[in-house]
Symmetry: C2
DNA sequence: TGTTAGCACTCAACTATAAAGAGTGCTAAC
DNA sequence: GTTAGCACTCTTTATAGTTGAGTGCTAACA
């Protein structure tokens, strides 16, 4: 048995759509006039009264119109929202093809997303979690410093300086490089266990201390990505929405964007909860980040195969244009999925 | 002949200090009471009238107190400000020692600076401009991709992927690496001219196309730093100052911080104008960035020897605590100077 | 029984007006 | 040259009145 009959649903839909447009509380008269229900405002009023009792809408104050409650938004997102037919977006495609470094791609994506939606966009590099070492190289940079370069399957490049007591000769360096690569290539962070390490050190002989350093560097590189890189764009867009732009709230929000740590919570949350479509909508209090309880957050997970995942997110006011946002995220997600797929082949 | 006699100077000083504290226009009575001049408010009023005529202070409206004009601030910064005796700041020292990657150091610095001052801090990596190649390495990452790693004198590491038609064998790679290093090491961007390039390509023989790619990568790396990395922190601090936090201004400012491009202007300006102390103060319209005409900007240049310079800056309201800010910048500048000096040895 | 017209009521938002307070400029006296 | 005093200005705050959008309820209607 449904809680809402068809008419109530229609009215709720009308209220929410109107509110998304205007940002103003919407009254019975408006609905009566601008919907195809052909009901008088009085009737609408009765229905609205019911809807309020059921918790889908609320009044900011007596004698104001109604605005959607979180429950209302939720209902809208789950049941009322029209799926847009995916449009072509050649531009983005082009962009991905023509920039090679992943960072750049991601930064650009964030920018485009923010510009398209007028909300704030965030995007993370695919998590190293189960990423594998693809290539590893030690080089003598000067008398006392070695440079370790680590390339992973996803073509993420990390480098780390290692200080040494004295320079290694070329031959030793070459041997070490071969050793490291044969031992570690194709392994993920978890797969490099004590056994691997012991074997490696044994083979390295007197240079085992360098191996240690390399492993530390490796761990460091992986670690560094645990508290992972988050690119944001359009953070100032939130100032465009009066309900978010009072000094207090804006400051908290902007801080969350600057202190990217907080965003990590969001990312983890998103990665944890598996959704088939890969799109998630957090409305108000549902958001994993406390500071964002007055916002809605929409996230998507893109995949690079084998458990390597990244997150894209849009943060905006509760009355955000969910359809547009979801649509944007979906296209982008697909694009990332396929592009990275292509690169792997 | 001085424009301001001693008494006027004292009064101006009192006005500015008071305004820096309170942010409110200051009236004659306040000065009369809280200064050691022992003059009646009427006398102060006469003097203030003179000061206004001379352009050092101004009235927001009739029957309000006076606030310092840009000229007033300028006079204050140039003549009235007390130099604080440099304090010890072990904490920062510690931090620099314990982080190895320059990026990290700079990010941290920015954070500390913002936290200390309650304004917005920005800091740039030392400009590549005349930086030299210290080490260069090509590695075969997979069948079709070469990784070029470039390390510069300042231990900045850049990497770039190069796509190749087919894999190179180890020997060729080794030869190329030696060739590249012997030819390019120690050269700065300007020193790598057509002559160098021609010679290099000739020596590379059939692999001259790869040399081209490497040079492109090199140019790219140098280029990438032309529009250089700027780290900001405490951007939301500007919201703490009512005179800057109205939606309009705040948005513009925050945008400037997000779109780091604009900050580059500031950096270049700073680098261009040589000051012996290395500290510069831009008040209001003096700022090279249009958006910051309601702010003051204080910048410092730190040096890494041989023309490699970076910039540190603080952006805040005109009524910022100049003494504190200048002091902070000075210490930090010195610290960076010496630390980097140490690293080079 | 569901729908509607009509009306009294509420409350935010706006406007006008008054009063208070801070500060100035000027004049005249010290 | 300095100061007391006073009229004047202009912002800020408070108060009250007005408007208008919107509701809830009742009674009439189909």
């Amino acid at each position: 048995m449904r809680e809402l009959d068809e008419r109530k649903t229609k009215i709720l839909n009308a209220i929410i759509r109107n509110y998304l447009d205007t940002g103003e509380p919407v009254g019975s008269r408006t609905i009566s006039k601008y919907s195809d229900l052909n009901l008088s405002s009085a009737t609408i009023r009765n229905e609205m009264s019911d809807l309020e009792e059921l918790g889908y809408i609320l009044q900011p104050h007596t004698s104001a119109g109604r605005i959607p409650s979180d429950k209302g938004y939720r209902f809208y997102v789950d049941n009322l929202m029209k799926e847009k037919d995916q449009e072509v977006t050649e531009m983005k495609e082009f962009m991905i093809e023509h920039t090679e470094r992943m960072e750049q791609v991601l930064k650009q994506m964030a920018k485009v997303l923010a510009a398209n939606t007028n909300y704030t966009a965030m995007i993370t590099a695919p998590s190293y979690q189960r990423n594998k070492v693809k290539f590893l190289q030690l080089s003598q940079v000067d008398e006392e410093q070695l440079l370790a370069v680590i390339v992973t399957e996803g073509n993420l490049v990390k480098n780390k300086m290692i200080s040494t007591r004295e320079a290694l000769d070329n031959e030793t360096l070459l041997k070490l490089n071969i050793l490291l690569n044969t031992s570690l290539n194709g392994l993920s962070a978890e797969q490099i266990n004590l056994g691997t390490i012991a074997r490696l050190k044994e083979q390295a002989g007197i240079h085992s201390n360098i191996v240690s350093d390399v492993l530390d560097a490796l761990a460091g590189a992986f670690q560094e990505d645990e508290d992972l890189e988050v690119y944001t764009s359009g953070t100032t867009n939130i100032l465009k929405y009066p309900e978010l732009s009072d000094s207090q709230k804006a400051s908290e929000l902007l801080n969350a964007f600057e202190e990217k740590k907080q965003l990590v919570t969001l990312v983890n949350e998103t990665l944890a909860s598996q959704e088939q479509t890969g799109i998630q909508v957090y409305i108000g209090d549902e958001s994993p980040i406390q500071n964002m309880k007055d916002c809605s957050v929409v996230t998507a997970t893109y995949q690079l195969g084998e458990g390597m995942k990244g997150t894209i997110g849009i943060i905006g006011p509760k009355r955000m244009d969910y359809e547009n946002v979801v649509d944007n995220l979906k296209t982008l997600k697909n694009q990332l999925d396929t592009v990275f797929q292509k690169k792997r082949e």
